[in-house]
Symmetry: C2
Subunit: 247 residues, 2 copies
């Protein structure tokens, strides 16, 4: 059999997991998917994701790749693996891609959504972060507009990915839409790539603007500091969804 390169698109509820990637404590989503694939394919594989998501972060469009020489049809593979996986992890699509494709390095961008609830709601508490107190939506939207573009986002990167050279933390934020939902708010981020915890740090900082703790026009100066300590807190993981990896 010839080796085929397979691209998976996955959705998961991150609540029960230590994140996408293998971690010392807790079960990772990658581990469970890899194990289920190996059981069905009957050979070892190396599953490579487009990027890690942290504990509690969800996905509606994570991607990953692996190679196999199994003759099993892909639609059958998807159904069989889903039958083995717990219901909070689903393979949405399995397709063959040309040799050379790489889930991480071939990606041209990513879309994340961050969900906020205007009041605490038991049934969405693991998927939306509750907002306490009033929020100045116009200020939040004005501040969001100043983040769009190509910047050195070091001030919004937690340690793990923080580069020493300036160019390591330059990213392009193509879109940051603030969308009002029933009893809530959705922040849509689309960019070429995101630094470690960047979406949650941007969200935490924008919420400070919305609460009047930071002027809406203050973010360009904050970006210029490249200092994580100057930005707002990391918003909780529960509201964050990796929606799509663009290729």
């Amino acid at each position: 059999m010839q080796m085929a390169l397979i691209k998976l698109t996955l959705a998961y509820d991150g609540t029960r997991y230590s994140g996408w990637q293998v971690q010392p404590n807790g079960v990772s989503i990658q581990t469970l998917v890899q194990r289920a694939l190996e059981t069905i394919l009957r050979h070892k594989i190396q599953l490579t994701g487009a990027g890690r998501t942290d504990a509690g972060v969800h996905a509606e469009g994570q991607t990953a790749h692996f190679s196999t020489d199994s003759p099993l049809p892909l639609s059958r593979l998807r159904l069989s693996v889903n039958a083995l996986l717990p219901p909070d992890i689903r393979i949405l699509e399995a397709i063959e891609v040309p040799q050379g494709f790489h889930a991480r390095y071939s990606a041209t961008g990513k879309i994340y959504h961050y969900h906020l609830a205007l009041s605490p709601d038991p049934a969405t508490r693991l998927y939306r972060t509750p907002l306490f107190g009033p929020l100045d939506l116009d200020a939040l939207k004005a501040a969001a507009r100043t983040l769009i573009g190509t910047h050195d986002f070091a001030a919004f990167a937690n340690a793990a990915h923080k580069g020493t050279a300036a160019h390591d933390s330059i990213r392009t934020l193509r879109r940051l839409d603030v969308i009002e939902e029933k009893n809530g708010l959705r922040l849509e981020f689309e960019g070429t790539g995101f630094l470690y915890k960047m979406v949650r740090n941007l969200t935490g900082t924008l919420l400070e603007v919305g609460k009047g703790q930071r002027p809406p026009d203050s973010l360009p100066a904050l970006i210029a500091t490249r200092d994580r300590k100057q930005a707002g807190p990391t918003a909780p993981p529960q509201g964050l969804f990796l929606m799509q990896v663009l290729y």
Copy 2:
């Protein structure tokens, strides 16, 4: 101190519980709320809900009442009890009501929503029931219209509430709206009251119509049989929300 009658409005995620009411197995929501109230009030209370919800069923507007002679302000009571309750149960409102009010007997109606997802989605799997295969929405809507009104709904009642006399199972369904959502469907039921598992049995039967397994004009004849065995299956609890108890 004079005795005050207090009405609570509650929201909860039913996933972890055996339901509202005390059950032989598992923890009930009523037990946890009653225990938390007794801890804060420092006296025993009798907490009476508007009705039971089954294991896995959620609420955004369950109501309950109890009496107390505590001088504690109600806003303070609500915050203190919420601090003791797990995050999947919240008291949304606590107000004093006139003597004679009864959470169940004073109710003039209830609103339930049933959520359906067009495809399996890990992050909403506990709150929406996935639909498999195509659905004829027009047929489902036409069938829903024939259910509105005052009928003997015995064919849609599971054993626990099934009356022997005809009048025991007569209810008025004031409204049954079929609303299309992003990647899903919401059935909104408003009625004077609902028999045991009636909303889930109506939903299971309407889904059979939507799947072409039952003609859209067949429900009046089904109602006339008063025979539970003639109706469709009980839809899973996960999609069901008690939204509001009307007074």
